[in-house]
């Protein structure tokens, strides 16, 4: 059992052992090489000395040959609907005995809720299709961890950039416990891949977000925005240093923050809109919750 989807021998993210009788729901599956899968699970019931905690999420490695988990024949998606409607298994998944299985059997349950675009929202981000990820994005944006991250970043920001956008963003993410601790990394552009090690996903890798999000104003609150810039930091052997910032969802000059704050994303300033920008949005990173 791991805290992040890293299963190397030297990765220091082992948190416990899953034992027979442990009850959990599979939140998502990431394909790995050789047909294996990294399963993100939500523990709902413990058995034996599992050294785990109920209601926490962990990562489990499932090899292609492994029989320890059998996915049953139930469809992966349950019926759509809000929690107000009578819905078999919706909203009360954990308490329903029909949805809990022993370790020899896994029930994959995806709770679907209808998403209505918020027409009054200042930002133009509006989920187009219902699905678990939309809810996870909303959970992320509204989480106390993101709020702590943003407050920390806004307290520390400078009047102007001091060329440490990536460092300031990392410090803020660590303060909000969105990453376990600060990690090394010299170029902001590499944050797009580095943050994936800590459970972040890039919305620009997935439809419909890839089509929906073309500029920072369309990203969800709390998203870590990664840009390429074409400006090298060759001393570090990186040909494109890039830029990184957090979308705070706040109005005015604090709407986007790194080592300084600004009312717009770096490639949406009035000057950029008018004359073009060297900064290209390549990552909209959020941590599904």
């Amino acid at each position: 059992m791991r805290s992040t989807p890293d299963f190397g021998r030297r990765d220091r993210n082992k948190v416990g052992v899953i034992t027979k009788g442990t009850k959990f729901n599979v939140l998502r599956s990431i394909p790995m090489s050789g047909g294996a899968e990294a399963l993100q699970i939500h523990v709902t019931g413990l058995s034996g000395n599992a050294h785990l905690q109920v209601s926490e999420t962990y990562w489990v490695y499932k090899s292609k040959k492994s029989d320890f988990i059998k996915v049953d024949n139930r469809p992966r998606e349950t019926q759509a609907g809000s929690t107000d409607l009578p819905c078999d298994g919706c909203g009360e998944v954990q308490s329903s005995s029909a949805n809990q299985r022993d370790i020899g059997e896994v029930t994959t349950t995806i709770i679907r809720q209808e998403n209505q675009p918020d027409e009054n929202a200042e930002d133009t981000y509006a989920p187009r299709t219902p699905g678990n990820l939309d809810q996870q994005i909303r959970n992320y944006s509204n989480s106390s961890k993101v709020e702590t991250t943003i407050n920390f970043a806004l307290r520390r920001k400078r009047a102007r950039s001091v060329g440490r956008c990536y460092r300031y963003v990392k410090d803020a993410l660590a303060a909000g416990k969105l990453i376990p601790s600060w990690y090394s990394g010299v170029a902001a552009r590499t944050g797009k891949e580095a943050l994936k090690r800590y459970g972040f996903i890039n919305l620009l890798d997935t439809e419909p977000y890839k089509s929906d999000i073309k500029k920072p104003s369309q990203a969800p609150k709390g998203a870590v925005l990664v840009y390429s810039s074409g400006v090298p930091c060759k001393g570090t052997r990186i040909p494109d240093c890039g830029h990184i910032e957090i979308k705070t969802g706040r109005a005015g000059s604090n709407a986007y923050v790194s080592d300084y704050s600004y009312p717009t994303g770096i490639n949406e300033t009035p000057r950029a809109v008018r004359f073009g920008s060297r900064y290209r949005l390549i990552g909209v990173m959020i941590k599904p919750m």
Binding site: R160, Y166, V186, A187, V231, C233, K234, G242, R271, R274
Partner: protein, 120 residues
């Protein structure tokens, strides 16, 4: 009469808004023109003869500080600084005064560090 008054007020407000837009647009245009010039300069192989132009561009960086908090122009010049340190340090020293000393120090640190150490 009332109608005429309304027309006059409306026309005045529109003219004022247009003036504001013009002011904002001209500072954007100034920043854009300056950054374009600095970007062209950053690709030059510098000699001692380029000292006056270098001083002018460094002075421009100080003016841009209020208009562009991202300091995009400074980041662009970072590679040039690291290839011509002695010339840049001489130019920075010559434009330094009591008012801009701390600001120039920040700019110099950014010139030095972005190319060699990145922004992490």
């Amino acid at each position: 009469m009332k109608f005429l008054l309304l027309v006059i007020i409306f026309t005045t407000l529109n003219a004022h808004a247009a003036d504001e837009k013009t002011v904002l647009s001209s500072s954007d245009a100034t920043v854009h023109a300056s950054i374009t010039e600095i970007e062209a300069f950053s690709k030059k192989k510098l000699t001692k003869k380029d000292l006056p132009e270098l001083k002018k561009n460094l002075s421009t960086l100080l003016k841009l500080d209020d208009l562009d908090p991202s300091r995009e122009a400074v980041i662009i010049l970072s590679e040039s600084y690291n290839k011509n340190k002695a010339l840049y340090d001489k130019a920075l020293k010559s434009i330094e005064n009591n008012k801009n000393k701390s600001q120039l120090k920040e700019i110099k640190n950014l010139l030095k560090s972005h190319y060699s150490k990145g922004n992490g």
